[in-house]
Every structure is written in C-alpha cells, then in structure tokens.
C-alpha cells in the first residue's frame, strides 16, 4: 500500500503555512511601510492646478508675502485660497490679455469659482486651526516647505498624527518670533532650541496633546 503521505508532503505543508502566515504579514508590513512613506502619504507629488499658478514667481520673484493671499491663516482655522478678485487686483493691469489667465478673468466676470486642487488635506475628523499656530510662532515654512521654490505646490511634511505630536510634545525647536512667521528664508540665529525656548516663554506656548485638542 502506498504511503498516505509522500515525502514531498511536508514541504507542501510548510510552504502552505509559510504562505498563509507570510502573505498577510507581508501585506500588513507593506501597508505599514506605505503609511510611513511619502508614496503613501502623497507627499512630494506636485499637484497640477487648473491654471499654471507659480509660487516661485509670485513669492520668490515678486516677494508677495504669504498673508497677502492667505490672510485667513492669521484669524481663521483655514488659511484660505484668495478670491478671484484678489488675482484680478493685479492681473487687471498686468498680463491682462494673457491666454493663460483666461480662466481667472472668466471667474472674475461670471462669479464662478476657480476649482483649485487641494494639496494639504487633513482628514475630516481632524480640527486644525492655522490661527493658533501662526500666532504662536510656527512658521509657514515649517509645515509647507519652501513654497517659493515650487513650480507646483507639493506636500513636504508627512501630516501624520505622529508628526503633529512630535511638535506638540516638544515645540521649542520649531518656534520663531511671530514677526518672522511668514519669512520663508528665516533661520534661527543660533541654536534653534534656544531661540524657540525664548519664543515659547514670551508667547506662552503650551500646546496640548489631549485627543480633544484636534478630534471632536
């Protein structure tokens, strides 16, 4: 009588067990890696916009400060995208016949919105306020990177909860005087932590890490 199990059976069984355990484990590991990777977070991917708005030109060359267009960052939870009339404030005179600015003029005349693509998206269950960060000495560049060097804006920070908490637990290295918040090229004069400590004391920076700080 032939044996019920042939010698190869053990190998088959081992391979099966390895697969049964290995595939889920590998998938899980893959997903976890993906979440910790720019690829999974969508960072470092320049976002196409409905018209070729270039921060390099507007911020870098012309020196328009962040708050000129994103004034909400100082007094609202959302920094905001400027209304079309703000664009036309200049572009009614400058480049007012450019083909590329046709959508802006159309929006300005018929009142429809320009559909920009969101680059920095936090999940809906997170409540984030630009106002408090800007007024407590967190610079624009700290989270948004050197926007003045980006042809199309991309996300440079991971925007994960761990990243938020890193700073909320120890904000000192990331703080700067409120006057320098919108300065994209500012560097702390000495040790960033020392500068930050002075700012923290002056502005009474006391970030909270309780769940309800951001989630409700």
């Amino acid at each position: 009588m032939a044996p019920l199990f042939r010698p190869g059976t053990d190998s088959v069984l081992r391979a099966f067990i390895a697969l049964a355990l290995g595939v889920p484990a590998a998938s899980l590991a893959g997903l976890l890696l993906l979440a910790r990777n720019p690829l999974g977070r969508g960072s470092f991917t320049p976002h196409e916009q409905p018209l070729p708005f270039d921060h390099r030109h507007h911020v870098g060359d012309e020196g328009i400060p962040c708050g000129y267009c994103h004034e909400g960052a100082w007094r609202s939870p959302v920094a905001g995208v400027p209304p079309t009339q703000r664009c036309l404030g200049c572009h009614a005179q400058v480049w007012n016949e450019s083909e590329r600015l046709e959508p802006v003029r159309a929006s300005g005349f018929d009142g429809t919105a320009l559909p920009w693509n969101r680059v920095h998206a936090l999940p809906d269950y997170v409540w984030f306020s630009h106002q408090i960060h800007v007024n407590k000495g967190v610079g624009c560049v700290t989270c948004h990177g050197r926007v003045d060097t980006m042809p199309a804006v991309q996300q440079v920070a991971p925007l994960t909860m761990g990243w938020c908490l890193d700073c909320h637990r120890d904000p000192a290295p990331w703080l700067r005087p409120v006057s320098e918040v919108a300065n994209l090229t500012w560097r702390p004069p000495g040790d960033p932590r020392e500068t930050g400590r002075a700012v923290q004391a002056a502005l009474d920076v006391n970030p909270r890490t309780d769940c309800n700080t951001c989630h409700f």
């Binding site: 909400g72 959302v78 209304p83 009339q85 919105a113 920009w116 809906d124 007024n135 502005l203 769940c211």
Partner: protein
C-alpha cells in the same frame, strides 16, 4: 461591597417630611409603580429586546454578496490615490466674511402670530445653528424647540419646489401674470378672499391694508388651529374690545387655570418661563397653583396642582371669584363648600362701571410692594419690556370697587360642580391671592371660554394685580366668526378667487365645517405653502413658499417689539416665493422687492430720519427695533358686563360622562412640524412619547374601560371616530381623554407620513378644544408606542431630588452624603493636571421646566442623527442629552420632576477603565473624551456607565444627501456606524474659544464658552464654565448647598452636578 450597590440615602429622604408625610417614591412608569420597583426584567435590562439585533430585511446571502463586493472595492481603491479635493474660493468675497469663521446674523421666526428674535450661525452662507437673541424681549437669548428645529425644515428635501397654475406646472412669472389679471378686476374685490394666519409682521399688515384699500369688498379672513382662543372674547367681555394679554407671570402667587404657560405651544413661552423662574428664587420662592386637565410641564412645576376636567374651568373660576370676593368685601372667607353657593344676602346689582377711585393702598400692600421690587430686580437683565405693574407707577393704585368685591362674593357654584379636593384648592389659592394683593396673577388658558377669562381679569383687577394688556399685535383680528361667514360664501359660490397663505386650512378645518368640499367650488384657488400638503392637493394653483430663513420680513414680539427678520440664505429652491412678494401683486406693489417695501415701510415709521441707513444697519445687527413696544391699553374693567355674564351663566352642573380634550402637540404644534424629524423624535416632555400621538387616559379610567398602554381604542364623537393607541398617563383627570392634534398627516413627505392619528377628525366648530361624551371602545388591536421613558434605566435610585423648601432650609446639610467624595474603587489618577481650566457643568432642577429646548440644541450643534420610530422602539435613540421624567407619589395624582442628564464627565469615569482600545480617555481639563477613530464598538463603556448616557450608532443613521450635508456643523465629526458617542461638553466650542483667546495671548474667560444646551435654555437652568475661575457661576453652583452629585456613592466624581428642586407647597389648613 454594599457601598457600590446601595442607593444613596440622605436624611431628608429617609425621614418623613416636615409635615409628617411619608417620603415620596419616584417612578417612571405605571409598570414600574405596580412592580413595586424596577426589579422587573424588562426594566432592569439595559436595552430592550432587539436593540442589538442586526438590521432586518437583508438576507444572509445578499449580505455576503455585499460584503464581498465592498471588500473587493476597498481592496482596489487602496491601490489608487483618491482624487484631490477641490477648493472653491469666492470670486468676490462677501463683506465681512473670513472663510472658516462662522458669522452670526440676527433674525427671527414667527409662529402663532408672534415673533421670537433669533441669532443664526452661518458657515460660509449655510445656516447651521439657531440660537436665541439676547437683545430680543421674547427670547432673552433662549430658543425654543420650534425655532431651533426650523433649521431642519429649511433643508427639508420634501419641500415644494415648483409652482402650478390651474394644475399645470408653471414658472412663478407665469403664475404672477395670472394673478395680475386677477388683480385687474372691477368688482372692488367682491369675489376676492384671502385666507391668512394672523401675523405680527407690520409689512404684511401694511400689505393687507393696501389690498383692502384697493379692493374694499375683498376680505382677509384669519384661520388656524390655534385661533380658537377664549382670551380674545374674554378681553372683549371684560374691557369692551379685543386686547392682547401678555403672560406676566413673574409674580409671588400665580394661579393658572388650564393655562400651560410654559408649554412650547404658547407664543411667548420662553419669556414667561424666564420671568416665572426668576421670581422663584430658592431663598424667596413664589407659589404656583395650577388647575389643569392633562399633566403639563406647568403642572409639573406647580406647588399645588389640581386635576380638572376642561368643562369644569367655569365652575372653578366662579368658586375662586366667590372666595376672593368674600375675602375682599370683608366677609369671612367661606370656609365650607356649601357656603359658597348660598350667600345669606343677595349681592347688590352693580351699576355702571365705576371709575376706579384713587385711594390709599390697602392693607398688605407695603409688604407686597417690597417683594415686587425683589422680583423686578431679578428681571433686570430684561432689555426693554418690563411689567407696568402697580409698583412701576409707584403711587397709590386703584382701590377695589366694593361693588365688584361683593359682586364676586355673590357668585354661586352648585355644590355638585366641584369635588371637595377642588374646593380645597380654590380656598387655598384664594387665600394665597388675598395675602399677596398686587403680587399675584390669575391666568387662564386659551382653551377656556371667554367668561373664565373675564372673571380672571376681574379677579386680577380686584386684587390690584393689574393684568398686562396691550393693543393687539397680530392682524387680522383672529375672529373665528369670519371663517364661518367665508364658509357660507364658499357654498353660495360668491367667491371666485381665494388666496390661501394660512398653513394648511384643509387639514386644520373643523370636521363639521365641510371646508374641503366647499373649497372646491372656488374657480381660482391658490395655495401658498412650504410643502405640497393636503391643501395643495386641493388647489390647482400652487406657489411654493420660501422658508422664513430665506426671505425678508419683519415681526413683533408678544410685547410689540419689532424686529427685521433677515434672510440667511437665498431660496434653496429657486421657484419659491415669499408671502410679501405674493401679496404685493394684489397690493399693486410688485415693482418693489420685499426688501424695498420693508425698508420704505420702516423709513416711514421711523419718521424718515436723515441717519436712517445707519439706524437700519443697527436694527439688522441687533435684531430689535428700539422703542416699538405696543402701548399698554388704556382700558377700564367693565365690571357690570363681567358680573352680568357670570350671573347669567346657568349654574355649571356636575360633569357627566367622558370628555375629550384636544390639545396642540408639544412637538408638532398644529401639525406644521410633522415633517420635521427632530421634532418627531423629540420625546414629549410629559408622556415621553415619540413618533406618535396617543389617547391619554387616567389609570382609573383606563381600568374602567379595560384598556392598557398600547391598546388601540376607537373614540367616537358625534358620529366621527378615530382609532388611536391608548397611553395611561398619571395625573390625568378621570373620565377625560386627551388627544394631541397635528399627527396623522397624509401628505407631508417621508418623515411624517402616516405617523400618529389625525385628531382634527374629532374637532368641531362649536367645541374646538373639548367635546362632551365621546364613546371609547376597545378594538382588540395593539400598536406599540415609541416611548423613551423606560430607556436608559438608572435602576430606581433617588436621582432627581425634589424637596419642600421648608424642610430643605431646616436641614441644608442633609445632602452632604450626595456631595462629598466618598470611597472609590480606583486610585486617583493624574486628574486635574491642567492648571488652566477645569470644565464643569451644573444643572439646576429648580429652574428646569422640561421644555426640551436643550435636546434640540444639542442635536443641532452636534450633528446627532435621528433613528426613526423603529429605532426608538429598540431603544436606539441617539440624543446625547436626555430629559428624565419621574413621577412622584400617588399614581392618580402624582408629582412630576424633570432632570436633564447628559454625560456627567466623571473624574473617575467607569467607562474609561473598560475600553479595550483606549477610545475613551480623560483630558487634563476634566473632559471625558470619546475618540471615534479608535472605537471598535465593543460597547463595554456603555455597559459600565452608571448614568447610561452613551449612545451607539447601531446603523448608518447619517443621511448623505447634499441638503442634509449642508445643515451639518462643520466643526463636529459626523459619526458613522459602529461608533460609540456621547456628550462632549461641546468641546468644539471650547476649542474655538481657546484658539481665539490663546491667539490673543490670554486664557479663555468666563462667559466665552457656552454649551449649546446652556445657550438654548429659556430659564438658564444649565451653567457651564471653568471650576478654576474664582468668580465663575459654575463654581458658585458647585458650592451651592442645593447641589448634589448623581450616584455619588459610586465614587465617580461627576463634573456635572445637579441642584435640588425646591417646592413651596401651601401650608396645610390654609395659607
């Protein structure tokens, strides 16, 4: 451990009351009472059977298919990045708007012919929350259930969207052309009729006047379910003309006869509640005497409540008048019931009304005036309207005319008309009124006949209480006879054009008026309404109305203060037309927009000042036009007419047989809110019934008719009948059936369709509120009622505390056992580690009327879903804040107390210890936080919560339609299925306030954070704030001797404390 299982006991609760009575027992339902405690399985179970069953209707196979498909979909979608979200900035930004920062606009809402001033929060143009306007005299910062739920009505997808002209869909411009043709008539409007609701809007009133001027023969006829108001004819009888009576109940003694002045259905209830509760300070309490039919929130608040059949109102008032008259005319107050009906000498016939003689204040008034000053001091917050009471004038007040006093004393009541208990109540109320002359108020509900009102005015005048009468605010004058003559004209075919702007007259018309059939004889009948309802179905021409938050209008508070009601949003459905726009076609003013009409009206009314534009902006911002209160009416009581009416009234006999009492529904009003899911699911404050109406019977009557809760009974009156479920309500007078109007709608959209039973089928023209001798028979069928009263049981512990004032003041330390921190199971953790803020709440049961405004506020602020009738039956309701209602004592005539309970944010929270995934954790500022993303739905926390305040999303309750999403508060996460949720102390408001304050480099100050429930409360019963702030009100209340902690023996250290309700019962044996 006995400590953890024994209910908390206190000295006060254990020992008999000061007057030797047994301690009262608190209970929630008759089942619980008869079971001798909540030991029964059904009551002790956390959820009723079925609460945890999966949804029905999906077969296993379908479920597996769906599960596989969604798994596959989830797997695939993970491989691709989601499409980027769009950001759509404004092209031209609205003035003053910063995206992300909500704006607040003052506006208002009119119902019942009166306007409540409101402030509406708007997120980038979407109204998301309705709050009260602190500057408005009818609101004082509070908002009632109807006002708040109007927001849901705005986003109702069932609203009418398109106009019709003679049965054919048409644009508004086409309908307008047809109307213009109607308006170009040369018969002076002889065949033109308008069926409208009385309105307080000066703009609409001006349009009526203009129409009347253009078409002298046209008539504008008032109509509405609440129009049958005995008060109107009562003022005519007592003062010779129709006047408005303001509920001025901030008095030392208030005697309410069938008057539920705290009810949501009475215009002006928010202000009345505030005034009354302010005059009820625990240290110097007033006394409330209530004689009423169905148990109401006012009756629950009463110090001395009396069960009264509706038909007995006249007998009771005659007896009260006789008793007070006897006291006033110096005769010894009639001690025995029999004395009342047979005074030894007939009273002299009073002659013509005597001019009130000026004389010295009568005895007792010095004391009275002193107490009045106290009462007025507490009203100091009230902006403009203050009672022109005797003390306001300061000088000597009119003396009682002896003729009136003796006339009142001479009134007779047959001995059989009232029971001994009723006579005792009358004696007590009369002696209390006599002891507080000038400080009392006799108030009568709209359901009582005019004579009862007239006698109440006579009593108030005789006692120097000066009823607060104003020139009428609403027009057209609510004369019910006008509708009767219209009915005649309709059947004679004398009406060729009928314009209906009143809410749904085909539904609210009395059953014997035959309105719907007669309506169909009118060739051109137009209905202007928010929904395609029962009237729209009978009108070939229909114009969809704008929601009040979509159109310009104005309105007046009960005291006449005018407000401009500005729109919050452009009409969501472009075909909608406002009432002013519709009427302006007939007024010949259609070239002007309602905004222009409104502005020019007020320019004219304010005397065209040069700075009108600035003033106009100010009025819009404040929501109040200063100096527009209605003048007090200069009238004198027509004593002779009142006495004549009272004497000619053939003696009311003993009531016989059953009586049917119809009431406006506390949630649906006359039925207009039947399509509003928030209101349908809001439990009635007294019955705790949702999604239905029921015939309310007293326990004895139910036994006599062998009916039980949920049995379907057939009620027949005069050949009309309905089949309706029975609910046995303690406190109901025997042989009385109460049924709420407004339910059973036939064309109302998916929410209210067929919910409840239409009580208008039993409403007759001559007896709009109470009909004699209905027959009630069993049908043998059963209909489950979605009651919330037995949900979220707290196992019968003494929780809502109510004590007599005297016994509390005698032993204020009796509550110590409920106040001090006791033993605890767990060591104190790192609680209270924040030295900035420690948030806390205090709920004063002494001020809580149970009106439920806080529940709607919470639902609106926190995106709390509704679960439907089926969900409530399975105890799945999602209200974060519930109002527990306990009966106290005797099931036939019980006491009543309401207790709002939300998460109490225990410092040592039992829920936190059992969560396996740390989804509920404590914050350093004392908040018990719920982290939705961590929650895996084990429900252990709810199981371990002694207060039963956690709510689980058994199903996906949130609607995803675009309109429903517009309404959501963007600051609060919309929870999905499988997640636990509960009260957060409105942490989104704390964090918003913190962001603003900390950006200004300071801490949040007292008064910067209001929770939604606190903000809506008409009586300021809810206080929220920072325990660390030395001057905070919440800290004062946490140190108040009346405070106690719910289930203190468990050692949970709740952050929400409750304050004991005190009662001021009349001393036994006469005041």
């Amino acid at each position: 451990m006995p400590l953890l299982t024994d209910p908390a006991r206190t000295d006060v609760l254990d020992t008999p009351g000061a007057d030797g009575t047994e301690p009262v027992r608190a209970w929630r339902s008759l089942e619980e009472w008869h079971a001798g405690g909540p030991g029964r399985e059904a009551l002790s179970r956390e959820h009723p059977p079925g609460a945890m069953l999966p949804p029905e209707g999906v077969a296993r196979r379908t479920f597996l298919q769906l599960a596989t498909a969604s798994l596959a979909a989830a797997g695939f979608s993970g491989c691709f990045r989601q499409p980027p979200e769009k950001i759509l900035p404004y092209s031209t930004p609205p003035e003053g708007l910063t995206p992300g920062v909500p704006l607040h606009f003052a506006t208002g809402l009119e119902w019942g012919g009166r306007t409540v001033g409101l402030v509406v929060e708007s997120h980038e143009g979407r109204p998301t929350k309705v709050e009260g306007n602190p500057l408005h005299p009818a609101s004082l910062g509070a908002a009632g259930v109807f006002e708040q739920a109007a927001l849901l009505g705005l986003y109702d997808p069932a609203r009418a969207k398109t106009a019709r002209l003679q049965g054919v869909e048409a644009a508004w411009s086409t309908v307008r052309d047809a109307l213009r043709k109607q308006a170009e008539r040369d018969d002076q409007g002889a065949g033109l009729r308008f069926l409208v609701e009385p309105t307080s809007s000066p703009l609409v009133q001006a349009l009526y006047a203009r129409i009347q001027q253009r078409f002298p023969s046209a008539r504008i006829i008032p109509c509405g379910a609440a129009l049958a108001d005995g008060r109107r004819e009562g003022t005519r009888l007592a003062y010779g003309r129709v006047l408005d009576v303001v509920h001025d109940v901030g008095r030392a003694v208030v005697v309410a006869v069938d008057d539920d002045f705290l009810a949501t259905t009475q215009p002006g209830n928010l202000r009345a509640a505030r005034d009354f509760v302010n005059a009820r300070k625990p240290e110097a309490m007033n006394r409330l005497w209530v004689a009423e039919c169905t148990l109401t929130v006012t009756g629950g608040f009463a110090d001395e409540r009396l069960r009264l059949r509706p038909s007995q109102g006249i007998a009771l008032m005659l007896a009260l008048a006789a008793e007070v008259g006897a006291g006033l005319s110096g005769a010894a107050p009639a001690g025995q019931g029999a004395d009342m009906q047979a005074p030894s000498a007939p009273a002299p016939e009073p002659r013509a009304p005597t001019a009130p003689a000026q004389g010295s204040a009568d005895a007792g008034s010095a004391n009275a005036r002193h107490r009045n000053a106290d009462g007025r001091g507490s009203n100091a917050r009230a902006p403009s309207a203050s009672a022109p009471g005797p003390s306001a004038e300061g000088g000597p007040r009119p003396r009682v005319s002896p003729a009136l006093a003796s006339g009142l004393a001479g009134l007779r009541v047959p001995p059989t008309a009232l029971t001994d208990a009723q006579r005792a109540w009358v004696r007590g109320a009369a002696s209390d009124l006599l002891a507080h002359r000038g400080q009392g108020r006799v108030t009568v509900g709209p359901r009582q006949p005019p004579l009862v009102h007239a006698l109440a005015f006579a009593l108030d005048e005789a006692l120097g209480n000066t009823p607060r009468l104003l020139e009428p605010v609403a027009l057209p004058d609510g004369d019910p006879e006008a509708l009767n003559s219209l009915l005649g004209e309709l059947s004679d075919g004398r009406v060729d054009t009928l314009i209906i702007t009143a809410w749904n007259p085909a539904w609210t018309a009395a059953v014997d008026s035959d309105f719907t059939r007669r309506l169909e004889r009118v060739p051109f009948r137009l209905y202007h309404g928010l929904h395609e309802d029962e009237t729209a179905a009978r009108c070939p021409t229909f114009v969809p109305a704008t929601h009040p938050f979509e159109s310009w209008r104005d309105g007046q508070a009960p005291d006449g203060t005018a407000s401009v009601l500005q729109p919050l949003i452009a009409p969501l459905f472009p075909g909608a037309v406002s009432e002013a726009e519709l009427l302006s076609v007939f007024a010949g003013l259609e070239s002007q927009s309602p905004y222009d009409l409104l502005k020019s009206l007020w320019r004219e009314r304010s005397g065209s000042p040069p700075d009108f534009e600035a003033r106009w902006e100010e009025w819009l911002a404040d929501g109040v036009i200063p100096g527009t209160q209605a003048p007090p009416a200069r009238v004198a009581l027509d004593e002779a007419a009142v006495m004549k009416g009272a004497r000619e009234r053939t003696g009311p006999e003993a009531p016989q047989g059953l009586e049917l009492s119809l009431v406006l529904d506390s949630r649906l009003y006359d039925g207009r809110f039947a399509g509003n899911a928030w209101l349908q699911e809001l439990p009635d404050p007294v019955t705790k019934l949702t999604w239905d109406n029921a015939a309310l019977l007293s326990p004895a009557t139910a036994r006599a008719l062998s009916l039980e809760k949920g049995d379907v009974a057939r009620i027949e009156v005069r050949g009309q009948g309905v089949d309706v479920s029975v609910l046995v309500l303690p406190g109901q007078p025997d042989d009385t059936v109460t049924l709420a109007l407004g339910h059973g709608r036939e064309r109302v959209g998916p929410v209210g369709q067929g919910v409840g039973v239409n009580a208008y089928a039993l409403r007759f023209q001559d007896r709009p509120w109470a009909v004699g001798t209905p027959t009630v028979t069993r049908t043998g069928r059963h209909h489950a009622l979605a009651l919330t009263q037995e949900h979220w049981s707290m196992e019968g512990r003494q929780l809502a505390l109510q004590l007599p004032q005297a016994s509390f003041h005698a032993k204020p330390q009796a509550l110590h056992a409920l106040q001090e921190d006791g033993e605890r199971l767990y060591p104190p953790g790192a609680l209270l580690k924040s030295d900035r803020h420690q948030w806390a709440m205090a709920i004063d049961l002494h001020r809580c009327t149970g009106c439920s405004a806080c529940m709607v506020a919470c639902q609106s602020e926190n995106n709390v879903p509704v679960v439907g009738r089926d969900g409530v039956l399975r105890s799945r309701e999602m209200h974060w804040l519930r109002i527990d209602r306990y009966f106290l004592g005797d099931p036939d005539d019980p006491g009543f107390i309401t207790q709002p309970v939300a998460c109490v944010h225990c410092e040592a929270a039992p829920c936190e210890y059992v969560c396996p995934v740390n989804a509920t954790v404590h914050s350093d500022e004392g908040l018990n936080q719920m982290v939705y993303n961590r929650c895996i739905g084990t429900r252990y926390c709810s199981n371990n919560c002694p207060y039963k305040v956690r709510r689980f999303n058994y199903l996906e309750y949130q609607r995803r339609e675009p309109l429903a999403r517009l309404r959501q508060n963007p600051d609060v996460t919309v929870r999905s299925r499988g997640v636990m949720e509960k009260c957060t102390y409105c942490v989104q408001r704390i964090e918003r306030a913190r962001t603003v304050a900390r950006s200004e480099h300071r801490d949040v100050r007292e008064g910067e954070v209001h929770t939604a429930c606190q903000q809506a409360c008409p009586t300021e019963a809810i206080t929220f704030g920072d325990l660390r702030a030395p001057e905070s009100r919440v800290r004062r209340e946490h140190e108040d001797p009346r405070h106690y902690k719910l289930l203190n023996s468990l050692g949970t250290r709740p952050r929400t404390v409750h304050l004991v309700r005190l009662k001021n019962p009349a001393p036994k044996g006469g005041a």
